[in-house]
């Protein structure tokens, strides 16, 4: 019982120097999170999670219409849809590759006077032909062009196919997603009200979509994003290795304590518990510091409380191309655990190894 009390005392009293370590660990972890944000902003619209939404716009304007972005933000609940993340590719329709278009799940073609322009129509038609997105949203006027190049399920109010319900809600028709084999869908987004409702339906449906095959293909395409990602992974590895080394240093500093406490007559079990209690404390506190600093930094960066960022950690570990990174991180952690084990082993068995305090 006295031994357990001493575990408590060691736990309570022995950690004043750990605060600096905990702060470093917390900062390292939050640094990881910031790096995630930076990586995301560099990768543009490309997102890691297949289930998440990627929005882009094909527009004849030199800028993305703010109301489109606002609608997307409002309906999807994704706050990070900023104009800088939406690519205006109108002026370079001819240069748009199928791969580039394929990386977007939703492509919005807003209402435009230029749709009546023959050159624009030709470009748009070619562009639409290349589109491999599962959801295509375009203006009423653009529909007519799209119809010619794609097998369109629905065109407009007057020509409703059977599988789309005529239950109008605020002038908008409800899509029966169970019946509708949506592959390519063109819907009028002339009115704001209609487009809002339409987007709601599409997002509801779109969130279930999977494009893993397409994403796999794209992951092999070397782009500057890949270079940035590679650098990001290296950064993550460095952070974890430094964290691992800090933990190793901590346990090296505890080596002497293990010897002293054993000489004072405490059992191996008690001393092991003391060390584990301390390790647990570091772990819990570093997690608290990490979470707090993440939210603080998110607030500072005006990202809001976007839980998508947190989810990125999960998806990061799921990514098949991150095997090397995961191996390095695991290696670093194993290195730390091995160091702890060796420290305890050599100092717990003081009877065999002499008093090495």
């Amino acid at each position: 019982m006295n031994g357990l009390r001493m575990v408590g005392l060691y736990f309570k009293k022995g950690n004043y120097k750990l605060i600096s370590l905990i702060v470093i660990l917390g900062l390292a972890c939050s640094f990881y999170m910031i790096a995630t944000l930076v990586k995301e902003s560099y990768s543009g619209n490309k997102r890691i999670d297949n289930n998440r939404l990627v929005v882009s716009s094909i527009s004849n304007y030199s800028y993305i219409e703010p109301d489109i972005i606002e609608q997307v933000k409002h309906i999807s609940g994704i706050t990070k849809v900023t104009p800088s993340r939406v690519i205006n590719i109108f002026l370079s329709f001819d240069n748009v590759s199928k791969e580039a278009l394929g990386s977007y799940e939703f492509i919005i073609i807003p209402e435009s006077d230029a749709v009546s322009d023959l050159i624009f129509q030709k470009s748009l038609k070619e562009c639409i032909a290349k589109i491999d997105a599962e959801k295509l949203i375009c203006s009423y006027q653009a529909n007519k062009i799209a119809i010619e190049s794609k097998e369109i399920i629905y065109q407009d109010h007057e020509d409703l196919p059977n599988h789309i319900s005529e239950d109008l809600v605020d002038g908008f028709w409800k899509i029966d997603t169970e019946v509708l084999p949506v592959k390519e869908l063109i819907i009028d987004i002339d009115s704001v009200t209609n487009s809002e409702l339409m987007l709601k339906e599409l997002f509801k449906y779109g969130l279930k979509s999977q494009n893993s095959e397409r994403d796999k293909l794209q992951s092999f395409i070397a782009t500057e994003h890949d270079i940035i990602e590679a650098l990001f992974y290296v950064l993550i590895c460095v952070v974890f290795i430094i964290t691992g080394q800090l933990l190793k240093l901590l346990f090296r500093s505890r080596k002497q304590n293990v010897g002293i406490i054993r000489i004072l007559g405490y059992s191996k079990r008690t001393v092991t518990l003391m060390m584990l209690a301390e390790y647990l404390l570091i772990y819990i506190l570093s997690m608290i510091v990490m979470i707090c600093s993440i939210f603080l930094e998110l607030l500072i960066l005006n990202y809001g409380f976007d839980m998508d960022i947190i989810l990125d950690i999960k998806t990061f570990f799921k990514g098949y191309k991150n095997i090397l990174v995961v191996t390095l991180i695991c290696g670093s952690l194993i290195n730390v655990l091995l160091s702890i084990y060796l420290t305890l082993r050599s100092n717990l068995n003081i009877i065999k190894t002499e008093v090495k305090v």
Binding site: N2, G3, R5, M6, L9, Y10, K13, G14, N15, Y16, K17, Q256, N257, G259, I260, I261, R262, I263, L264, G265, Y266, S267, K268, I350, I351, E354, V355, V357
Partner: protein
């Protein structure tokens, strides 16, 4: 009356038997309530003898009888208990726990004292008061002088009210005046009934010793009485 007895003890370091022999067929008797000084040059096995008494090093041959019991018949767990109940350790380098204050360093030595943390703390403060460093109770070791750290280490050695105090070069890291003060404390403890075994090559320790064990180069012992 002898409290510690070495009966033909042989000990060598190394994995194979016979590697680096330190002591051979060593016999020693240490009387109760006396100060015994084990004296000799470095490398002759003085600290090894102390570690054998503490149950930290098991000799390859012979018996170590402490308080009428062969300590190497004890299990590892019983040896832990033996160490905490009967032995108090003082080191040359003090070996205080740097993350603990002086008083907590003494408290952690109280393995066999029953009571709450506050009660133990009170006892620890009394010990520190007795060693004239009561005002440094809340100070961390790195802020204490060598002499003050050694006093804290002595308080820790006394914390369990052990019968035997083993001191490994207790004045080796101290200046002359501080060493003299520490010697005085050890003498006082002997007068209070503690058995003290000191390992040292400090000539001044002879002055307070009741018995001196001289170690020579051939690992033989000669015993003399001051």
């Amino acid at each position: 009356m002898d409290i510690i007895k070495f009966d033909k003890i042989s000990f060598s370091y190394g994995r194979r038997k016979g590697d680096l022999p330190i002591i051979k067929n060593f016999e020693l008797s240490i009387a109760e309530k006396e100060i015994t000084l084990i004296y000799g040059k470095s490398g002759l096995g003085k600290t090894t003898i102390l570690n054998i008494i503490a149950g930290l090093l098991k000799p390859q041959q012979g018996q170590v009888i402490v308080d009428e019991q062969n300590i190497y018949d004890l299990s590892a767990r019983e040896l832990d208990k033996y160490r905490s109940k009967k032995i108090g350790f003082i080191f040359q380098m003090f070996y205080l726990i740097p993350q603990f204050t002086a008083v907590d360093n003494v408290v952690i030595g109280m393995k066999n004292i029953r009571g709450s943390y506050q009660e133990k703390r009170k006892i620890a403060m009394e010990l520190l008061d007795r060693l004239e460093i009561g005002d440094k109770g809340e100070t961390y070791p790195e802020l204490l002088s060598g002499g003050q750290q050694q006093r804290v280490a002595i308080a820790r050695a006394l914390a369990n009210d052990s019968k035997i105090i083993l001191a490994d070069e207790p004045t080796g890291n101290l200046d002359k005046d501080t060493a003299s003060e520490v010697s005085g404390i050890l003498e006082q403890l002997r007068n209070e009934g503690k058995t003290i075994v000191i390992v040292s090559h400090d000539e001044h320790m002879k002055e307070i010793s009741d018995r001196i064990v001289m170690l020579d180069k051939e690992y033989m012992s000669r015993t003399g009485v001051m």
